[in-house]
Symmetry: C3
Subunit: 470 residues, 3 copies
């Protein structure tokens, strides 16, 4: 007999009965609030076309770098998991790939992936036995059958998940046709885009030169002049705003900003265009562009997100064989206090601007980020991110930021995911962890329970909506 | 009906009933011990003149950068809070300023400011409803009325607070008249000073050159010669010691120390005096001066405190409009192992010297500070400081230092505050958190309860008294 | 009446009754598993010669730098504790030295040393009163009497401790005679060696030049040519493998690796041999040698351990008077992501290689080490090390690595000790802490109890055995 899959109603709540009772009450009042998903990486084509998803492996395994990086770390070849390489899509049989995951599912004990997947299996698909070698085929069949039904089409799931608004993330080169198609379809789901211009801002991006050329064509601007280049950004930002965007996003190696004079900017831009720039010049250019983006945000009202600190594509061989974004990004120490100073010197006190900071370096929570966000009107703290978007990680975030920045300089939860089916699971984990943290404050008489209830609602719903101007 | 303000007797204790019971017993034995406040920033004039304090806003809001930095971070103008600017005192109506705080008091949910203020409101002023918009005037009136009574004059509060000794902090240029007045008044309260020479040690301090000139006049030394300059320090230190000082304090950007030869010192000092020094030379001069201060401590017995790691006055605009120390200081990564080596190479094994280290970079607790203090006879660890002087911060301090440095290389609590009325609240929080930490060790059978009781008393009373030679 | 010494059956388990009950069950199933000790510093001569140990001070105090560093930090002279200096063995009377420890045993409240020693006193020696001034002589006498019995000879203790395999650590210059003697003795205890070549790899080691000469003699290689030098390593590694070694160990100041061409290696090696090298060149040489060691591991199958990040012998005076390794090592910030890249670029995807990473910088757990080990097939994480090998430290390790790297990229426990009698105590602490962490996951419904039971067994027994190829 396979083991039963049970999602315990009290999962993630503290064990102490008194604290748990408080957590349960706080969570009870927020568990069914609509989902605000202001930062994520789902594919807008899903909602534009509303085609059925494929099969368990293709939907749940091959695109989820949390899953295949863990399997890879134990010597399992990506090819066997259906992960496409530079040579094209994988030849792995999806059912076989799924069996590999099932056979190795013990590797995920204690990880958020196990929590998220259990939620997807149980709540979304109604499965009632655990995933293991002997239930692999059962899973594959049940999931496959469900995906062929109307109820599992993207729009139906979106509605079933009670998503009030979902932001996707697009390149400035994206013509945003999917978003237009969604809008024009008459479907009532709200899917907005986000302006993510890294590919035309980072001179070290492998596609930079080609992307820049396209950027010029798309906007009709002379993107080889500094003024034309900035103008092209302005035009695309306006186009994104028309497609519902309320935010931009910037994934730089560091948080460095700069505030150069006009002539210096032009000289630097010329160097960047020449292709003969040093790493320092590339860094300085990205730094200056954060300031330019902030300046444009003051004009067009887009909220600015800064996601620094990842060493992208760290694994040389994997990058050569499989390309970018294959679970081989690694966090680096990240500095904010000096890095952000030029930007803050220029705009830090202008409350019309809103900048949401993220980090992969948890040491900055109490040392730099909470003190900065607890002082500057323009700064807010994004939630625990990526490797730290996990029960322990989210708890550390609250424990290390609340006392200096409070709850109201934070912005609620981001799921930041391309795993569409896990969105309810992720928001549920975040709500449970926040309620657990609040319950401890209540139990220790550091906060009244009715105040805690207000905070729980703010974190689950009101703050993300307000912070992202949704 | 406004909500009741209740300070729960078990606040800050762990929720588990068994652990809470132990914490309660441990705390019960230390809660009424006299307060030793060996490091703080109250104004000695309060105790010299014993004049009544003004009103709620002037006493509790305008001088408390924990409060107005949080309000400012949410876009509230400092001018509306009664914070004086470079142009002079604020024109804000104190009652209106207080209403702004009341209206926004939810911002402090989960912060130590809320804990401290609730204690002040409830215990010091006997208020029994929570602070919110509709109770703002009630608060303002009750507090104002109390402050006009004899029982709320500074000396009466000092006695009511059961303060055994209170250290203030003065510039070397301070003539210490207030301390003399206190001593000569016949009042039995013990208020001592602390030698804080940053303004004549930091060549980058905006007042350095003027301060140096005054330093020469005050001491009759040629402070433009290296020997005379050092002598001026010796004379002022002796004067401070006569005014009760048992300690010096040094607030440098880093913990760097240096041990240069005589000729090098003279050359470096000449550069500093010339005003044409590099940032590195300024840093080296501060580094050398930490060594000189240690050398003098060996002679005069003053305990040395090092408080490194703040980026002071980070907000350019605010600094221009409002001046220094307006809640815009931000911690930076801080390194100790290499930084302190020159000083430790010279004096690290001389048990007559005592150096108390602080940090704003919690990553150094387990990595650098506990290993250093757990080995060098001259080093002790100051308590969790500033942004980390909070329940979670104090708990992290104990969790991350005790196993390597023990309890006996730490020095009890510092309130480090200019908010005089919050002193009992702050010591109470520290005693509760230490007892909570100890209670967990007892409950987990890592420490006997009678040993824990001894440690609790040591932390609350004996260690600060001994460490500061009071 | 002296206070009773009681080892509580539930020590180190969480206080909450439900969590504690789970922890107790998990621990119950692993508490008696054989000890796998794959990394330590006991003296193989003990097992080769099987001579009785001396007395309490000589066995338990003088060699234990955890103990005498704490005593030294409070101004107690090492000479009084029986710690040998450069001038030779201490003249301290062992009984007097033991009394100093007893009188100051309160300094260890809340430290792992207190836990370990209590276990040794109670379980190994059957003592039933606590160590304090008035029981010092009783302790000294009881321990001394026990050590003169057969049951306390090294081999008898090894068997009583249920050690399945114990790894020692030797210099490449060690002729491994003790290990041969053990093997040839017919005794069934398994004691293996570990190849620790720092002394012939670190050009800054004070014994480097002499060691290199010996290295050449011992191997018959021309160790002044790059090829001969590498060959000497190959020969010694093979000899170590024949003496049971399954691993190498590398204690470098940083984790830096390099992948230079043949000609560059030869040039660098020539600089190193010349003695006229810069600190950078020394660092680069160590970096290159990590790559060479990895390459050799691919050939001979030895598992590679990297232990970076200690500032060795930080106390100048102590080092001059007492020599190396006298409790004056201090952790430094340590970087892995860039440091390991050359090695990982070369061998990171080759699953035949196994590299176990350690750190003294806990900030790297969630930021660098878990993400690296959770991706690269060659990497695993060693347990919480040295200053962090303590209940709080081990808990932080699990809390900060599990969610990204899982349990199965970790390798169980290392005792890393020369304090032979404390080995069961240390493994017991590790098993209790791991079971406590797992119990919390179970109580919070993040892991089934039967899965947790499997993980507990894996961590206690199966993972170290597999990871070290024992």
């Amino acid at each position: 007999m396979p083991k039963k899959l049970v999602l315990h109603a009290d999962r993630l709540f503290p064990a102490d009965p008194a604290v748990r009772a408080i957590a349960r009450r706080l969570y009870g009042a927020v568990q069914d609030l609509p989902i605000i998903s202001p930062h994520g990486h789902t594919d807008p084509a899903w909602f534009a076309d509303n085609e059925p998803f494929g099969n368990a492996a293709e939907l749940l395994l091959a695109p989820d770098h949390y899953l295949y990086r863990m399997l890879y770390s134990q010597g399992i070849a990506l090819a066997s998991l259906g992960v496409p390489s530079r040579k094209g899509s994988s030849e792995a049989n999806p059912r076989e790939a799924w069996r590999v995951l099932a056979r190795n599912f013990h590797l995920f004990r204690g990880t958020p992936s196990a929590l998220w997947l259990s939620h997807v299996f149980s709540v979304v698909f109604g499965l009632d036995v655990v995933l293991e070698e002997k239930t692999a085929d059962h899973y594959f069949d049940v999931i496959g059958a469900a995906l062929r039904t109307e109820a599992f089409r993207p729009r139906a799931l979106f509605e079933r998940f009670n998503i009030e608004v979902l932001a996707t993330t697009e390149s400035p080169l994206d013509p945003l046709l999917q978003h237009r198609k969604i809008r024009e379809s008459g479907w009532r789901g709200r899917v907005v885009t986000t302006y993510r211009p890294d590919v035309v801002i980072d001179p070290e991006h492998e596609q930079f030169r080609g992307a820049l050329a396209q950027f010029g064509e798309l906007t009709g601007q002379d993107v080889h002049s500094w003024g034309g280049y900035l103008n092209a950004h302005r035009l695309r930002r306006a186009e994104f705003a028309r497609a519902g965007a309320t935010a931009t996003d910037h994934g730089h190696p560091t948080a460095r900003t700069a505030d150069l004079g006009q002539a210096e900017c032009e000289r630097l831009f010329a160097r960047v265009l020449s292709g003969r720039f040093t790493p320092d010049e590339a860094e300085l250019f990205r730094a200056q562009m954060l300031l330019e983006m902030a300046r444009m945000s003051l004009d067009d009202g887009l909220v600015m997100q800064i996601h620094p600190g990842a060493f992208r594509n760290h694994n040389l061989w994997l990058s050569e064989q499989y390309g970018r974004d294959k679970g081989a990004d690694v966090p680096m120490p990240t500095e904010y206090v000096n890095a952000l100073k030029p930007l803050l010197d220029r705009f830090g006190n202008d409350a019309r601007l809103s900048i949401i900071l993220f980090t992969l370096d948890e040491t900055t929570y109490s040392r730099e980020l909470a003190p900065l966000a607890g002082h500057y009107p323009v700064l807010k703290l994004g939630p625990a991110w990526w490797f730290h978007d996990s029960p322990e990680g989210m708890l550390r975030f609250r424990e290390q930021t609340t006392e200096t920045a409070g709850f109201y300089n934070t912005v609620g939860f981001n799921d930041d995911t391309r795993a569409f089916l896990s969105i309810p699971a992720r928001h549920d984990v975040a709500r449970r962890v926040d309620c657990s943290f609040l319950a401890r404050l209540v139990a220790e008489h550091r906060l009244d329970e009715d105040d805690a209830a207000l905070v729980a609602e703010d974190l689950a719903y009101r703050l993300p909506k307000a912070a992202y101007r949704l």
